[in-house]
Amino acid sequence: MKFPEDLLYSESHEWLKVGDSTLRDEGGRATIGLTDYAQSQLKDIVYVELPEIGSEFKKGESMGMVESVKTVADVFSPITGKVVETNHTLKDSPQFVNEDPYGKGWIIKMEIKDKGELKELLSFRAYQDFVPKEEE
């Protein structure tokens, strides 16, 4: 199970990376996706429902849905912000969320409204402790 060190995590299994590598302005934006643990629980993802660009969400609000064959899970916003970009490639290739949850499987990019909220998210160590241990 992967827990990249440079990311922040939510208790509802989303990851957040501050900054947007396609822009020079680093601080105002965040890239968001589902963690490796989340995708392993959902199993094969068949569809990702993305929000409209420009829509705003409060921290903890559902922004979209991820569907596998037998389940549906909300993607909750880890922060308060506005959606500026969504990952269109997931339309034809929803499996990117399974294959590369921290890379190709990114879901949403948001403009951060309140930087203070970032403090409330978990570090990779805290998230690793939070996640139930694998029963193997």
Partner: protein, 451 residues
């Protein structure tokens, strides 16, 4: 033991051994978790059990008499080929459950896939579900689906839609979220008033709902409505009662309909006092994830062989639970199979021919009464197999006379449309012979002369 023993195989010896294995003395002990004060001390007040012969005799006596019928209005007397009841009587079809285990339900699943294809072909749309309860609830589900998509308040409902269907839609919607506005029909041709419709179209409109052929049997002019509705961002929903009409009529899919929802009873399903029937529901691919009902999709197995499975189940109640697109679970699976078999028999030529026969018989009936004094066809719009007749006199009296001749001559419209209180809806199908139609016309003539 009584007559019911044939359905319960347990012998006293079986029971004794099973109780012993379980570790209780008597059958009653198995119900110890039920508080004693609620356990029934006397038997239920139900009739004594009947064996098969007595049961059959009782039901035979309850059977209503058969009459020649000119009834329609959402349920139609059509010929059902012998293969339809024969094939659906195969127990692997009718005693099976919902196909949740695809490996042992390929029969059901493939036939639903074929049904879905046929419904798309029939209505000119892109995707169909595996059935809903009936035409009325199907149309109501269409309105709810449109609301999920547009989130708008107003529903423009044609007054020429089957009155019971309109009542079901009223029952289904949440009056806090949606509002129905009726679009009147034109007194001349019996079609929905397009100008009234256009005047009401604005950006608060969720959907326009129109039925063709409509309740009066009149074929609506669907052209142009779709474009207008889409311009304001609303949805066009087309309903129907008589599926056979689409053997010759251009399907709603050709007129930019977003959802087509109607009744499939005409396709090989018996009249059966109004049910079970078949709710047909078709839409465009882009809306597939908001569609209610079961969906069967094609896929492959481990070895690459083609097979079929229930799919996109995440819309449904057993997964989405409170966020489901509908709460439907059991639908009308066997009725959908009847329609599939019926259409397989009739095929391209047959559906067209039976539709033509319906049109022709209705035209013959219209001609038969055209010379009669005291009655006239009410609407000038072209019809399929039903039309409205106005009578100079009391329609109930006329129908009463016809009943004496074992003819049910039509459906009085007064209870549905108070302004049409001297009117009858007359339906003629391929099952009304020329001789029957002549007899009907003759009795009608006699009644009118007497009045």
């Amino acid at each position: 033991m009584g007559n019911f023993a044939r359905y319960i195989p347990h012998t006293p010896e079986d029971i004794r051994r099973m109780l012993e294995t379980i570790g209780v003395k008597r059958v009653e002990d198995l119900f110890e978790t039920i508080p004693t004060k609620y356990r029934l001390s006397k038997s239920m007040n139900l009739p004594e059990s009947l064996g098969e012969p007595d049961l059959l005799r009782h039901l035979q006596e309850l059977q209503p008499p058969l009459c020649a019928s000119f009834l329609g209005g959402g349920a139609y007397h059509h010929f059902i080929p012998a293969v339809v009841p024969y094939l659906i009587s195969r127990s692997e079809f009718y005693t099976a459950y919902t196909p949740y285990q695809p490996e042992i339900s390929q029969g059901t699943l493939q036939s639903i896939f074929e049904y879905q294809t046929l419904m798309c072909q029939l209505t000119g749309m892109e995707v169909s579900n595996g059935s809903l309860y009936d035409g009325a609830s199907s149309l109501a589900e269409a309105v709810l689906m449109a609301f999920r998509i547009t989130k708008r308040k107003k529903i423009l409902l044609s007054q020429a839609i089957h009155p019971e269907y309109r009542k079901v839609i009223e029952t289904y919607i949440d009056p806090d979220q949606q509002e129905i506005i009726l679009i009147p029909y034109r007194k001349g041709d019996g079609r929905t008033d397009e100008k009234a419709l256009s005047d009401l179209l604005d950006e608060s409109v969720n959907a326009v709902v129109i039925q063709s052929p409509n309740f009066f049997g009149v074929i609506e002019n669907l052209q142009g409505i779709g474009k207008e509705v889409h311009q304001v961002g609303g949805m066009m929903i087309v309903g129907f009662n008589e599926a056979i009409a689409y053997g010759i009529l251009a399907p709603p899919g050709e007129f930019e309909a977003d959802i087509v929802a109607g009744e499939g009873q005409s396709l090989g399903i018996p009249l059966s006092l109004g049910g079970p029937y078949l709710g047909i529901f078709t839409t465009r691919n882009k809306h597939v994830r908001t569609m209610p009902g079961r969906l069967v999709g094609e896929t492959v197995d481990l070895e690459g062989k083609r097979g079929f499975v229930l799919t996109l189940a995440t819309r449904e109640q057993h997964i989405r639970r409170e966020k489901a697109t509908s709460n439907i679970c059991t639908n009308e699976g066997l009725c959908a199979l009847m329609a599939t078999i019926y259409l397989s028999c009739l095929g391209r030529e047959g559906l067209r021919e039976v539709a033509m026969m319906n049109l022709s018989k209705a035209e013959y009936a219209k001609k038969a009464i055209s010379k009669l004094k005291g009655c006239r066809q009410t609407f000038s719009g072209s019809t399929f197999n039903e039309f409205v007749l106005e009578i100079d006199g009391d329609p109930e009296k006329v129908l009463g006379e016809m009943k004496k001749e074992k003819i049910i001559g039509g459906l009085p419209l007064a209870k549905f449309y108070p302004e049409l209180n001297r009117h009858l809806l007359v339906t003629v199908t391929e099952m009304n012979s020329k001789e029957e139609i002549d007899r009907w016309a003759k009795v009608l003539e006699k009644c009118l002369e007497r009045a």
